[in-house]
Symmetry: C2
């Protein structure tokens, strides 16, 4: 029996009927993710619904040296859920129960395929708050959020996913089940392997359960819509907000091009506006009323064209909904799109905008940007129509990365490295750090079967130990 068939037979024997799918339609359905990474057909798609099933899959995969690409909603932006060397896509979307929302201890325990929006609703119902809010929250899953260390707008005040992960159950490459971390809010027993798995993009272990810390729900949120007449004012406006001493819930930004998307969507944007900030404050009713006024005044003093309060929850939700849909809206405006999520120290936002303008002018590539201004985290998009423009796009991207690093920044604030940024990691990390990281990876996954070709590989992903 060829290795391929032997592995499939073993998987079929270990899993419920229908869990292992080798039909063309299934394979094609799992060949790509939300990113622009080139699709690669897996040899089979395996649906897991329990820790025992995930462990069984990994026992077979390690025995047969089959690469395994974990995947939940596939909403990632760097190709992390696409397989590079065939093998299995291990789908977590049906492993999706909320096991617990403990309103006393402020803890939630969830399976990896739980959709973030579902968790948010369950937590809201307990009058608690799970802050991470990537734009894809209606579709993305908690397992994917943990694997990528997802952020979102309110990360400015509340931090990213990793800040809320107390403990993880993880299945290793060999199928061993490990309990990492804890259920308590504090804990320093042994090495922080939980944080090591957070953001490791499915390359160290497979997350089969997450224990999450919850906060009390803030009583009130106020949303300021802040319009600027020039993108050059963005950095000043962000600085003015920060200097109030009030930690806003978020400080989101839209540049001239992305503001146009809001206009096209019929949102009321002043004609002279060339940039916008969405600033929210939260807390008790009394506190937000005062904070909103102080932040609003500071922004007016900093030269904002107009500062106004969202008139209703419905208006607030309309702005956010268009903001959340920005990535897809931009994609629909060009034949091709690549999106980056670089971060610079906040004081360097102005310099980053200047760099984007210069790179766009030099390469002729359209580069609309939006993002999390408070964190210095900018989503710079690269739009082009014809394939022949691609070399210019590649040049523009590399120029952006180099300038970002010159400014003391980092290549990725929340999307991870995946396949698409893997060629560039050496610009940011030294050979010593990369070598140590890979030696640590080998302790978790000595055969290199867990999500091969991600983070550290060369262009397109180094071939894994595929069975093909």
């Amino acid at each position: 029996v060829p290795r391929h068939d032997a592995a499939l037979l073993a998987l079929d024997a270990a899993l419920p009927s229908g869990a292992v799918r080798t039909d063309e339609a299934s394979r094609h359905a799992y060949a790509r993710d939300e990113s622009e990474a080139a699709p690669v057909l897996p040899d089979a798609v395996v649906m897991a619904r329990s820790t025992a099933q995930v462990a069984a899959v990994m026992e077979v995969a390690s025995a047969h040296r089959v690469p395994v690409t974990p995947r939940a909603a596939g909403t990632g932006r760097t190709g992390g859920a696409t397989c590079r060397a065939g093998g299995l896509v291990l789908a977590f979307e049906a492993f999706d129960r909320i096991r617990e929302v403990d309103a006393e201890d402020h803890v939630a325990v969830v399976e990896p395929g739980v959709v973030l929006g579902d968790l948010r609703r369950a937590v809201d119902a307990a009058r608690l708050f799970y802050p991470p809010d990537p734009s894809s929250w209606a579709e993305c899953t908690v397992g994917g959020n943990v694997a990528e260390n997802a952020g979102g707008p309110v990360a400015f005040k509340y931090g990213v996913t990793g800040h809320y992960v107390l403990g993880l159950e993880v299945v290793t490459a060999s199928g061993e089940v490990l309990e990492l971390g804890r259920r308590t809010k504090k804990g320093v027993t042994g090495y922080d392997l939980t944080s090591l798995v957070v953001g490791s993009e499915g390359t160290l272990g497979l997350i089969t359960r997450a224990t999450l810390h919850l906060l009390p729900a803030p009583e009130a949120v106020r949303t300021l819509l802040v319009f600027l007449d020039d993108e050059a004012r963005i950095a000043d406006a962000v600085g003015a907000t920060l200097r109030t001493g009030i930690v806003a819930r978020c400080i989101e930004l839209l540049d001239r091009h992305t503001l146009a998307v809001l206009r096209d969507d019929g949102l009321p944007i002043p004609a002279e506006a060339a940039a916008m900030l969405l600033v929210e404050v939260d807390g008790s009713e009394v506190a937000v009323a005062i904070d909103q006024e102080r932040v609003g005044n500071a922004l007016t003093d900093a030269g904002a064209l107009e500062v106004r309060l969202a008139r209703s929850e419905a208006e607030r939700e309309r702005f956010w909904s268009v903001r959340r849909g920005m990535s897809r809206a931009l994609r629909s405006r060009a034949g091709n799109k690549l999106s980056e999520d670089v971060v610079v120290p906040r004081s360097k936002l102005g310099a980053l905008f200047e760099a984007c303008r210069a790179i766009s002018a030099e390469t002729g590539v359209r580069m609309p940007a939006y993002g999390h201004a408070g964190d210095g985290n900018l989503h710079v998009n690269f739009l082009w129509d014809d394939e022949e423009e691609k070399p210019r796009v590649d040049r523009a991207i590399e120029a952006l990365f180099r300038r970002t690093l010159d400014l003391g920044g980092t290549l990725s604030g929340e999307h991870g490295i995946g396949v698409l940024k893997a060629p560039f990691i050496g610009l940011e990390q030294s050979p010593g750090v990369i070598d140590l990281s890979q030696r640590i990876k080998a302790q978790w996954d000595p055969q290199g079967i867990l999500n091969p070709g991600k983070i550290f590989a060369g262009p397109g992903g180094r071939p894994g130990h595929g069975w093909c």
Copy 2:
């Protein structure tokens, strides 16, 4: 030339005159730390003042396989700064410059020997806030705080040291200098090796620079002194505080025995009080006035004997000063003291108190407790006078650990494992997790020369690769 002498000669050649000390007085001065761990004489004490010097020390140490025990202020509570197998104590106390406090980007960059109190003053002067506040802040250093992932009262609202570490410069066992992490607030490039080093107790690498995230300083703080007539009310009172939905700055607790220390110190404590909470709220002036009232009312409704506001900053500071000195005050009340820092889910605090009472009654060991009630983090102290009582103390400690773990807790909330808790780590972590941790350790330190005998070793510390 014997190995010992060859290493000392090489160190002397590599470092400034006076940096390598082998006199009896120096060796004795660095034989113990603030904990009850048995003192062990190092063969030499080396003072480092720069990254280059630390790297030079590790080059010599790895070439000669000499164990190195890093140490800054020596205020740790689990023996992490005591050497177990001779070799070098590498002292960081003079490597102590604050390199930068950047009020624009809210970042501080410090050397490892900076005293936390000095950093706090520098940050205050910039109207910013570095939250971690272990009781030893007037003496302990940032390097030690990072190595132990120190907490403190305000960790309840603001999180522990690790939440504020953006990046680290680290020297490995072989003397290689690695830059981990970043300067930006967000960043997910590669594995989170920064978080792996945080709390690793000097066993993975030596911290030579820390880049820290700062917050705006809260405008106001209000302190509530809450007296209870029975320790059994503590859990209810904490629950009542949490159910207000207000995230207090801290919720500290003192039991009957530790409250007596405050009384002896002349603080005004009602005669009927048998326990106390120190609850603080912070934020804008307006918000804290309201929050203080809401929390105070909730505590009164929960049956508090008395809830009153600290009358002045001086009164507030008097309470805190006695609270911060509690560990040493208790030590002065008995021949011997061991202090633990177990954590349970908050809802289990009542059960933990019951367990302490039962264990104390059964073993006859005095067990005064205080700690961070909001985090479920209790400092349980074991006091005894005669050496012959020690077996009963050991039994009491093991009983506390087992009960803590039964309640879903963890062995250490902020002190680390060090030497003193190393015999117990197997109660909390599985052989699989410990094995993986040790294999990761071996990637950083293949010869096992960095702080040997800590975290994972058996009683008293497994002998390292000493030169003796």
